[in-house]
Symmetry: C2
Subunit: 398 residues, 2 copies
């Protein structure tokens, strides 16, 4: 295990009915007006935003609103939010939504007190803003991205077709409310996309060459098994509020970096997928289901030990001296789980044409995730060159 320095400062409130307490829970944390930030459609239709407004009103909290966040949230709306927050003297951004809304809120939170264009911060890996972000709070309406307890945000620029991330420790929300009753109206494919994303957040941390990681290995395996179990429960019955609760909590643990403590991390699959989302606007979870098995097939020989451990401890494959067979069986079971949840298996099913420019996408993915070196690679158990990345895209094509 590597040395680490970790602080997870989010106040995490879980339970049926808890979203009605947002005003009361937020009151001690704010010093002025807040921005209420959300998407459109379901949060309005289901009355969630109205109930949040009522709770804020009852607590005497002053707020302005900005709705309209879309999946793969756009930097254009973030710029609009920054202008609004500056004009209205906003002191905290409250996101009511899933990962897209929360990531958009984080973009607004970091952009408001900083004069540079927000996309500059996202465009330069590791950039440090001059001023600390505004605090962010969340009411989660879609468990998937883990943004409710992470310091990360990912935005897309529609003009340049780039999807880029930014990380700042003060973007870890000060308060997140996870109320599983809010998930009961979600369609099945959203559940599947979410579970797929959560699982991949753990893969990116679990499949590593770092050794002496017994505890985080075991915790990661426990969380992966739970995600797969709860997603299957929900696939049978979307009204299972307990399964929603367990899935949501697993999604938080999957991405708050508890499971990544002291480990090298990969993020190769996210790097490969972000190109799909940026260019073809596919749902992130659907893109991952296509990328992950092809990635695993390509890299497992570099560290058969960790892949065999995963196949046995997570996928339930019986241990066997034929390690390759154990791993292949593990990957087959993962494909089978994706299929069971109705997730796509190929680029074709994602609607990505066979003549897509996979070489250019591979170059771009390596460039974003590989840092500013001459021949960048995607990190992980085996560093992926642009050539290998293109091969992974092609293997996932049909």
């Amino acid at each position: 295990m590597l040395n680490f320095n970790y602080c997870n400062s989010t106040r995490y409130v879980y339970g049926p009915g808890e979203h009605l307490n947002i005003g009361k829970l937020l009151s001690p944390l704010i010093s002025g007006r807040i921005l209420l930030h959300y998407g459109g459609g379901s949060v309005i239709r289901t009355g969630t935003i109205e109930r949040i407004r009522n709770s804020l009103d009852a607590a005497g909290i002053s707020y302005v609103e900005l709705g309209g966040v879309k999946p793969n949230p756009s930097v254009a709306l973030v710029r609009q939010g920054i202008e609004l927050c500056r004009k209205e003297g906003v002191t905290l951004v409250l996101a009511v939504g899933g990962g897209s809304v929360i990531d958009s809120a984080k973009g607004i939170a970091v952009g408001t007190p900083n004069t540079c264009d927000i996309w500059e911060l996202y465009s330069h890996k590791g950039s440090i803003p001059e001023h600390n972000p505004l605090p962010v709070a969340t009411v989660l309406t879609l468990p998937a991205a883990g943004s409710e307890n992470s310091p990360n945000t990912v935005l897309s620029d529609e003009q340049t077709k780039r999807k880029l991330g930014f990380k700042h420790m003060m973007l870890r929300p000060v308060l997140s409310i996870v109320d599983p009753t809010l998930f009961l109206t979600l369609p099945k494919e959203q559940m599947a996309y979410g579970a797929c994303d959560m699982l991949c957040h753990i893969f990116e941390r679990y499949f590593t060459n770092t050794t002496q990681t017994d505890l985080t290995d075991a915790l990661a395996e426990a969380t992966m098994r739970t995600i797969m179990l709860e997603a299957r429960k929900l696939n049978r019955n979307l009204a299972d509020v307990d399964a929603w609760g367990q899935l949501a909590l697993s999604g938080t643990i999957a991405h708050n970096d508890l499971l990544g403590l002291g480990r090298e991390q990969s993020w190769a699959c996210h790097g490969l997928e972000h190109e799909l989302s940026a260019l073809y606007d596919v749902p992130h979870g659907a893109g991952l289901a296509v990328i992950v098995p092809a990635y695993m097939e390509a890299v497992w020989p570099a560290n058969a030990g960790i892949f065999a451990q995963w196949a046995v401890n997570v996928m339930g494959v019986a241990p066997h001296r034929d390690t390759a067979a154990v791993i292949q069986e593990g990957i087959s079971r993962l494909r089978s789980w994706y299929r069971e949840l109705g997730l796509p298996q190929t680029m074709q099913e994602l609607g990505i044409p066979a003549n897509a420019d996979f070489d250019a996408m591979a170059q771009a993915a390596c460039h974003v995730y590989g840092g500013g070196v001459a021949t960048p690679t995607l990190p992980g158990v085996h560093p992926i060159t642009a050539k290998e990345a293109a091969d992974i895209y092609k293997a996932a094509a049909i």
Copy 2:
């Protein structure tokens, strides 16, 4: 799962050599003079305190010192620390030690700004002090109690022979440094006591009648297995610094309440053991090894489901339709692990006389842990009456 509201605000710094960074890490967190609090013997002999002083000096941190904390830390020394902190205008208490030193530091931290006698706060379950405690920071030298990341403290009063706990969310340390190189000089029995205590911290949360707890069940099982594994590694080789690291991290997770989120909790074994420590000054971990199997034998029929799940998922018993046999095999394997680590099996081995007043101890344990009702019981899968508590003591006698 029950609703919960959780915030783990500790900055947790892990790794070989990290204790040398205490001054640098503490600097941004303090506003004035601090108290350096420790035990005696090993931290002085090994040069740890001297290295801490050097690091504080190098960071220009002003401090006063109070050493002399003993196992089962005494309220008398805490009172002395409170006087010192008031006189010297101390603004943070830095504990360098194990659970005893940290718990003593927490007592000083809460007592300093409050005028009531400190033992009053410990004597009344759920009491709320008028003023918030001073912040506490820790450098852990003995992984066991989990106090480096918990809001809890336990003190003993030598005069009244009472051992009592107190909890305050602001007693969760603001900074904890876990440097496994500091554990390399610990004797084997300290490792065994520590591992036993950690495991029991999870038992108190895991064995519950709360249902729909898939994720925390799985995380708890992962942590229990890791504790048992690492303790065995250390039992073979106390110089295994990686195993110390994994054990210490497991000990933190065991007691920072991640594994207790949304669950009813028991604390019956701790209640039963605290009487042994208070009256006979036995090491807490040794007392638990004697109490736990007798407790399990007494209560498992009340919830065979969770005990069978534990036997299979933690103790590695093959699932079988004869649930009672599975559970008994699980308990036998636990006894065997205790024996392997050289832990005592009976009151007799603890040096507690056969004619000890088990009835009075049982009454006292139920009184402390059962709250202020007429016929208090120890909570858990089956509420333990004073009569049953006495039977558990007697079953563990020889």
